[in-house]
Amino acid sequence: MSSEPTQLGGAGGAAQGGIAEVSPHPGVAKPDPILVADGLRRSFGGLTAVDVERLQVQRGTITALIGPNGAGKSTLFNVLTGFDRVDTGSWTFEGGRLNGLAGHQVARRGMVRTFQLTKALTRLTVMENMLLAAPGQSGERLLGSFLRWSWARQEDSNRERAEALLERFRLAHMRDEIAGSLSGGQRKLLEMARALMVRPSMVMLDEPMAGVNPVLVESLLEHISALRDEGTTVLFVEHDMDVIMGISDWIVVLAEGRVIAEGRPEDIRSDQVVIDAYLGAHHDEAGRGSGDEAAEGIEEAR
């Protein structure tokens, strides 16, 4: 394994509004949080999938959410973005409560998510995928859609913005192809570009690198860093330790639904609790599986 990716994001921490001074322990308060969650619990029958006492995400950072399989990362993602209900707890985004809001309402507040299994709208063209995501379109109302002159100009400006984003994500040449004809990696890029059409202040990426070839991983990482540099907050779930250590400003470790550790990459690397969580649970099947990979990742990162 090359150590290249570790150079990518680099020590962005210093620039991120004082995240460098925050002490690394679970549930710690951040100086300028965009997302604040308190006492989130979600259980399925007898199984408590998420039990997060306190979690804050610092504005303008890349925050990684890691943890062994079944740690509750995806459930937490779904809960935060309105795609699942909570049993108890509350959370706010940019100061506004999100409790009880549906997925589309959360997206309209500026928190836009992507999915682990890419959801390109396959029988729509790439351009249609992009235009669909633009917010506040008057032509999207049933009766408004008949008044073509009233939305034509809005459509043109959306198209311009979409064109610029496609250019940036190197998909411009595919604009009139149906999204189903894109490769897996291109679909990931499209999904990210499409999320940006919503003009989010925070993007939630659910395993953006899963199943993507190494060359494209580099390009995706550059895009994610660029997002942060433009002021967008990024929260992402990922398994690849090299990637996480390289790009993240802050890392939150989840195990059995709880936040067991959080801190800067260098804090997490040396955290005994994290190593135990990755190794302990999977120790007797160390020959295979994500526990092994993660341990290797952590070892190497040291």
């Binding site: 997206a107 029988r123 235009l131 999207e140 859609s145 189903g180």
Partner: protein, 328 residues
Amino acid sequence: MDFLGILATSLTSAIGPVAAIYALAIIGLNMHFGYTGLLNFGQVGFMLVGAYGVGISVGTFGLPLSVGVGAGILCGLLLALLLGIPTLRLRADYLAICTIAVAEGLRFVYRAPFARDFTGGVFGRQNLSEGFRELNPFPPGRYGFGDITFSSPHLWTMVVTWSLVLVASLVMWSLIHSPWGRVIKGLREDEDAVRSLGKNVFAYKLQSLAVGGVFGALAGVMIALHQASITPDQFRPQVTFYLWAMLLLGGAGRVLGPVIGSVVMWFLLTFTDEMMRAMDQMGWLPFVSGGELGAVRHALVGLILVLLIIYRPQGLVGDRREMLVNVK
């Protein structure tokens, strides 16, 4: 065998009033299934409430035609809301079960003894189209060319219904080629993706159900006006299945699909029927005769549909490129 005569009869049926009425109902189904991906197996229910909107206002209460047509459309809208609000949050297959059950349930309610004072029970309602016939500008007689002719009332229904089909197709075209239609087509691919982009998925599905339901109800209104009498038992589930077969034949998710599907299917139905009857008279059919011909005809049409789905799954005017995409 009078081959030209058979051809003329088939063409008459292909462009006749019934084909037009079916086309109208299929346009509604195309909105639901072709564009939004809603599995509506109860389109006949929308036709039923539309027809009975006329049947009850005109037949039971003696109200004018315009009230009947308005009531029919309103009933379609109401049914869409009543059906959609509880079921559209369900997964697609549950929606399919609910729609077929609701349509059958409606038929039983409309034919039930307790509703007889309003609906006429199993006998339905008669003398519904006087107001409509009064508007007929064509003097009595036969119209057409060669062997393809229509009586004056049929011509009148045809003109009105095909005009409605034209208007409905234009409305569909305009809706689909707009940002609204883009969201609707997005729903067909993946609801969660559309939701994650800030669109209210439930509201869009309800709107789609209402638009398609109103077209279905309009088809029902035209049935009442065309036949002048209606009975609940003509709105059986197989009507919905015919609508589906015609939609898939023409091409789902295409503006012209419903029209082409209805015309071609009615041609095929009549053509196979007439051919078999002619062959039967000439003694060319060794195993079947008389009443059994109907069944064999349906089997033949079924075979044609099976071959179509194997060799041309996108329908006659569908886009092959879209069919080749793996949709999950």
